[in-house]
């Protein structure tokens, strides 16, 4: 297996492999860490903490399965935790998402196509997101699929498993894409000096918003609550709720009256991915 992966990786262009490694190693904002920070070890510890959280959640779900009345609450917590982790990664990698002046000055005179640099940069960020998504859900996705999708037999378990992973990846892509879009738009519209000031403020604001959303956002736990939820309700503006609806749409348990919430998730995902793509191409 290792040989298979190695052979396939070796087929990628050398420039891409070299740059991807460099960008992945410094994808975290070094200013946010100590000057002696060992980035590979940091990435390992980061993944280890998330895996531990996932294992504890999985054990908790299997040993003390929540009553069906709490399923929605648990699902919203999972989406909200995933978005918090991705949000914190976005804050930590804030200045390393786009190729910066240093990259331009170092790599510009070298015989490397700009497309390869951009691709390596994006895949380094995607690599970190991938590590986070996998580590946080690798065990809990199995336990939740067994418990929450068990009523539908093996097919139900499989459907829940796929829906769960799709939702986690989609919510991560939405949040990271939204951050990229905001950064890209600001960088495009503002002069460089003003952008640097505004960017620092945005980074701090994003950190606050992600924490507040995680700790203070109320959840919708019953069909009755969902049925009375109007599209203009402040709660309906929460992306956590949109992606919770998306999870239930995918696994077939979303009430017909709440389809509009899942539609919001699809629209938000499309907008964030399109915005991020345009930002990366323009910047």
């Amino acid at each position: 297996m290792r040989e298979f992966v190695r052979t396939h990786i070796a087929r990628l262009p050398l420039e891409y492999r070299v740059l991807h490694r460099q960008f992945l190693l410094r994808v975290i904002d070094l200013e946010a860490l100590s000057i002696e920070a060992d980035i590979p070890r940091f990435l390992g510890q980061f993944a280890g903490v998330l895996m531990m959280i996932s294992l504890l959640q999985a054990l908790g779900t299997l040993m003390f399965p929540p009553p069906p009345a709490l399923y929605w609450h648990v699902e919203q917590s999972a989406v909200s935790r995933m978005m918090l982790v991705i949000g914190l990664i976005a804050v930590l990698t804030w200045d390393n998402i786009f190729p910066d002046r240093r990259d331009a000055m170092i790599l510009g005179p070298l015989p490397v196509k700009p497309g390869i640099i951009l691709l390596a940069k994006i895949s380094a960020s995607a690599g970190l997101l991938g590590i986070a998504i996998l580590a946080l859900n690798f065990a809990s996705s199995f336990s939740r699929s067994l418990v929450f999708g068990g009523a539908g037999g093996w097919l139900g378990i499989f459907r829940y498993f796929v829906s769960y992973w799709f939702t986690m990846v989609a919510s991560a892509a939405f949040l990271y894409g939204a951050v990229l879009t905001i950064q890209g738009t600001t960088a495009y519209l503002l002069p460089r000096r003003l952008f640097l000031r505004v960017s620092a403020f945005l980074q701090l604001a994003a950190f606050g918003v992600f924490l507040v959303a995680y700790f203070l956002a109320p959840s919708v736990d019953t069909h009755a609550q969902l049925a009375t939820l109007g599209s203009r309700s402040p709660l309906a503006a929460s992306p956590i709720l949109w992606f919770f609806a998306l999870l239930n749409q995918c696994n077939g348990s979303l009430p017909a009256g709440a389809l509009w919430l899942a539609q919001r998730a699809w629209i938000a995902l499309a907008c964030a991915v399109a915005g991020a793509t345009v930002s990366l191409l323009v910047c």
Binding site: R101, R102, I106
Partner: protein
């Protein structure tokens, strides 16, 4: 041969480089001089392809550089004015990365990197992080990275910055040796003594335009001035330097 034809770069309509034309030939060191803000580094960045020009053409061996920019960059080595490096890497790792991106053969590269680091007195610090390097050590890494692939076109923008006397003397001889071996060398510096010793041909910029483009000997006989410093002062320095120095000393009550 490197040739610039009527090259200009404007920022918000203001020319940073205005209608600059000159040629740098293989086998000679071309000095590129000018006061601060005259457009030297901007020209260098346009030649490397780091920034786009507003008007004009840059040709290397008769072909516009943008015709095959990647092949052109393979044959170019550039020491920038600002020492941008990846600080999380060690000196050896940085050079290895550059060698890999230049697609140099690994075994040969490793020997060459070790050799360069020894010659530049950096071998003992090769595994230390660049973040702990002094300015001179960083400059040596930039020089090694620019020359390790044996480029045909060598662009040096203030290459002596931060170097100690010994290293500066080595670099001076190296620049001459590279020219002797048929490289095109374009060399920008404020150190006029060094330029006078190293360069056979100089281009002097003033207010973004070329005000002199000739051999040092021809400029000497044309201006009837004995040194490059005096020629430069006459062509590109508008202030009365002695009077400014006197006023400065008066102002601080020295």
């Amino acid at each position: 041969m490197l040739e610039l034809r009527r090259v200009s770069k404007h920022y918000s309509g203001i020319p940073a480089v205005d209608d600059v034309s000159f040629a740098a030939r293989p086998g000679e060191v071309t000095g590129y001089l000018g006061p601060n803000g005259s457009g030297k580094s901007t020209t260098m960045k346009m030649i490397t392809g780091l920034i786009e020009r507003t008007y004009g053409e840059i040709l290397f061996e008769g072909k516009p550089i943008e015709e095959d920019l990647i092949s052109y960059k393979r044959r170019m080595g550039y020491v920038p004015e600002e020492p941008y490096l990846y600080n999380h890497l060690s000196g050896a790792e940085y050079l290895t990365m550059v060698a890999q991106l230049r697609d140099l053969p690994p075994r040969e590269t490793s020997e060459r990197i070790d050799g360069l680091l020894r010659l530049l007195s950096l071998f003992d610090d090769r595994h230390a992080s660049i973040s702990g390097y002094s300015k001179g050590m960083r400059q040596k890494i930039l020089i090694a990275a620019a020359l390790m692939h044996n480029p045909d076109l060598v662009l040096l923008d203030e290459p002596f910055s931060g170097l100690d006397v010994g290293s500066a003397l080595v670099l001076r001889s190296l620049i001459q040796e590279l020219a002797r071996r048929g490289k095109v060398v374009l060399f920008s510096s404020h150190e006029l003594d060094t330029v006078e010793r190293v360069c056979s041909h100089v281009v002097i910029l003033h207010r973004a335009r070329v005000v002199a483009d000739d051999s040092i000997a021809a400029l000497r006989s044309m201006t009837e001035l004995p040194t490059l410093e005096e020629i430069f002062s006459q062509l590109a320095v508008e202030q009365d330097t002695d009077s400014i120095a006197q006023h400065f000393a008066d102002l601080i009550h020295a």
